[in-house]
């Protein structure tokens, strides 16, 4: 499959009064047409900043993309003008955020907001756009879509708002959907609805998805590939089945062991990861997971490891061969 998106060595730093915060520090990901990638990590690990950098939505200053390439269908988005970039957003890349209420305009109706994008990107008339919006609202499963066209965001429930956001994101048939924690604020039964909806739409439109989450569970059933981020870097990336079955990075192993599972009972042991995520302000050259790691070697203290291939599509950034040192 041809590559749809290729991110190479992306570095997004924030220049603050106290120093440089290296929020994203050398992230490379690639995505084929129609593929779904899960980007997993805890708060502050740089997953949202990575997504925002792809969209070029980093507030500048204080943020700046200091290094890297973002190739969408071979074109480097980082070299586009602001006008050209506006063509890409919404049109080629759709985005869904965690909190639709802050993203949607509270004084415009849902219908108006979605048709705005359609008129702009697809050159439709107001009348045509309206028909398309009602179609979209129906597709994302909003009950009585004709009426919902005139609803304001506050009149919808959290799940319905997220459906409206998805309708907006897919309104121009994007090739890539970036979903940034879209279900984190929702209840589990509503989360299941939204996940199913995205699965269906993805199959229908053949679009690629980057699903950003802190929950290893959600992406397990949704994504073919999963990348785990820690402290601004990808520490492990693999086909989903491989990652959950044979995790190699101590952090991935830690995450899996510290996540309670509904299919495991009262006796299952939780092994937490000690300590806390590091401060990303002026980080040193060492591996950023060092302080919480149980497999530390000498080299870890001197130099942060790069990703190396350890299997079919499986890459890990760790000096230690955790599998061998366990046996």
């Amino acid at each position: 499959m041809p590559k749809l998106l290729e991110v190479n060595g992306l570095k997004t730093w924030f220049f603050t009064r106290n120093g440089v915060v290296k929020a994203v520090d050398g992230v490379s990901i690639s995505l084929s047409e129609g593929e779904a990638l899960g980007l997993v990590g805890e708060s502050g690990c740089g997953k949202s900043v990575s997504a925002m950098s792809i969209m070029r939505l980093i507030p500048q200053p204080p943020g700046r993309i200091v290094h890297g390439q973002v190739l969408l269908e071979g074109k480097d988005l980082l070299s586009l003008s602001e006008d050209q970039m506006r063509e890409v957003r919404g049109n080629k890349i759709g985005v869904v955020f965690q909190d639709p209420l802050t993203f949607l305009n509270p004084v415009l109706t849902i219908g108006r907001q979605i048709s705005e994008a359609i008129e702009l990107h697809m050159g439709m008339s107001g009348q045509q756009a309206r028909v398309r919006v009602v179609e979209l609202l129906d597709k994302v499963g909003l009950p009585s879509p004709g009426q919902r066209f005139g609803s304001y965001p506050h009149q919808l429930s959290g799940g319905m708002r997220q459906r409206a956001m998805i309708a907006m994101a897919i309104s121009c048939n994007p090739r890539l959907l970036i979903a940034d924690e879209p279900t984190t604020a929702l209840d589990v039964t509503i989360q299941a609805q939204i996940v199913n909806l995205v699965k269906d739409i993805r199959r229908e439109l053949g679009m690629a998805v980057i699903w950003i989450t802190h929950d290893l569970g959600v992406v397990a059933g949704l994504c073919e590939r999963v990348a785990v981020m820690y402290a601004g870097r990808i520490v492990e990336e693999a086909p989903a089945r491989d990652l959950y079955k044979n995790p190699h990075h101590p952090y991935t192993i830690g995450l899996l062991r510290s996540t309670p599972r509904i299919d495991k009972g009262r006796t299952a042991e939780l092994v937490p990861i000690n300590g806390m995520p590091p401060n990303l302000l002026d980080p040193g050259p060492e591996c950023q997971f060092l302080a919480r790691c149980t497999f530390v070697g000498d080299r870890c203290r001197q130099e942060a490891p790069d990703l190396r291939v350890i299997g079919e599509g499986h890459r890990v950034a760790c000096w230690v061969n955790v599998r061998e040192s366990q046996t």
């Binding site: 805890e42 039964t189 509904i262």
Partner: protein
């Protein structure tokens, strides 16, 4: 675990009046908790799960009398809390403490962390100043915080550390029952496991009884002996954790359980998913009959008219559904 319940809740109702206009005419009520029955034995952990707005937090607040009971009884250690007032209520309240969800909002930003943990001791007049100081140090050690944190303010602490402070404060007056209201929901995955393990350790060490409220079923399953599932102000199913997971009898429980993702693609691929349609109805005007009938796939005629009661369908397995 003894058979005498430490806490017994009978027919608990908490309704909030909805008023309108200049004269504050009452135009209805929000039935946040609408007939809740529950008992918790000494040393047990009962999990209370349900989606936002189902009344789980209000139930906990009513147990500790932070909300006025509209009807029902809360019997703790043989005493009916609903009838107690003043000094006697305060004395018994010492035995019931609460850990809150949001470690950012539940700690006074202008107080040092040490003073926060000491406050319940002062309020209840426990010990002299030096004794209290020693007790605070001991509590810090118990929850795994270095005692130098005592001089810090909450904003200087991370989310996990703040939650440890919240737990230390709850333990200060030596409670027997701790109501944990979503204690891990605001925390990151790796920190969440630390707090869950800490709560389990403390339970064993101090023979605590927990009511553990959360919307995350996987966490509840891990920590609870028995689990109560709430929907729109009522318990719809109550059973031992493994029983509930393996043979749930209420369609809402089944949907809820199947909606929880499992971090394992192979398991996910095999799982059957019951996806509920629609949203939870609002509690100010719950549907007549069984509250769940608007979203139920196996709804019958009777469900629309008559409310099902919680019935023991198998030993220690309670279900409120007309199908059973």
């Amino acid at each position: 675990m003894s058979d005498v319940p430490l806490l017994e809740v009978k027919g608990l109702k908490v309704h909030f009046p909805v008023t309108q206009g200049l004269l504050q005419r009452s135009t209805g009520s929000i039935k946040a908790v609408d007939g809740l029955d529950l008992f918790i034995s000494q040393g047990e952990t009962v999990g209370l799960v349900g989606e936002s707005g189902c009344g789980k937090t209000t139930a906990a607040r009513a147990i500790i009398r932070l909300e006025r009971l509209t009807a029902g009884q809360v019997i703790f250690d043989g005493e009916d809390l609903g009838r107690l007032k003043g000094e006697r209520l305060r004395r018994i309240r010492r035995k019931i403490q609460m850990v809150f969800q949001d470690p950012y909002a539940s700690l006074d930003p202008r107080m040092k962390v040490g003073a926060i943990v000491e406050e319940p001791l002062r309020v209840h007049g426990l010990g002299t100043a030096p004794e209290r100081k020693r007790r605070v140090e001991e509590l810090f050690e118990v929850v795994g915080l270095n005692s130098y944190f005592a001089g810090r303010y909450p904003h200087e602490l991370s989310g996990g550390q703040r939650q440890r402070v919240g737990i230390a404060r709850a333990l200060a007056p030596n409670p027997s029952l701790v109501l944990c209201d979503e204690p891990t929901s605001a925390l990151d995955v790796s920190i969440r496991a630390q707090i869950i393990n800490l709560l389990e350790e403390l339970q064993e060490r101090f023979r605590l009884t927990y009511l553990f409220i959360a919307h995350d079923l996987a966490v509840v399953r891990h920590i609870s002996d028995r689990i109560a599932v709430m929907y729109l102000g009522k318990i719809v199913e109550l059973a031992r954790g493994d029983l509930l997971y393996e043979c749930s009898r209420h369609p809402y429980t089944r949907a809820l359980l199947s909606a929880v993702p499992v971090p394992d693609p192979e398991v996910e691929a095999r799982r059957e998913r019951v996806v509920l349609s629609g949203d939870v109805p609002t509690p100010d005007n719950p549907p007549p009959g069984c509250h769940f009938h608007t979203r139920c796939a196996t709804v019958m005629e009777i469900c629309r008219e008559e409310e099902p009661h919680l019935v023991e369908v198998a030993p220690h397995h309670w279900v409120a559904c007309h199908r059973n």
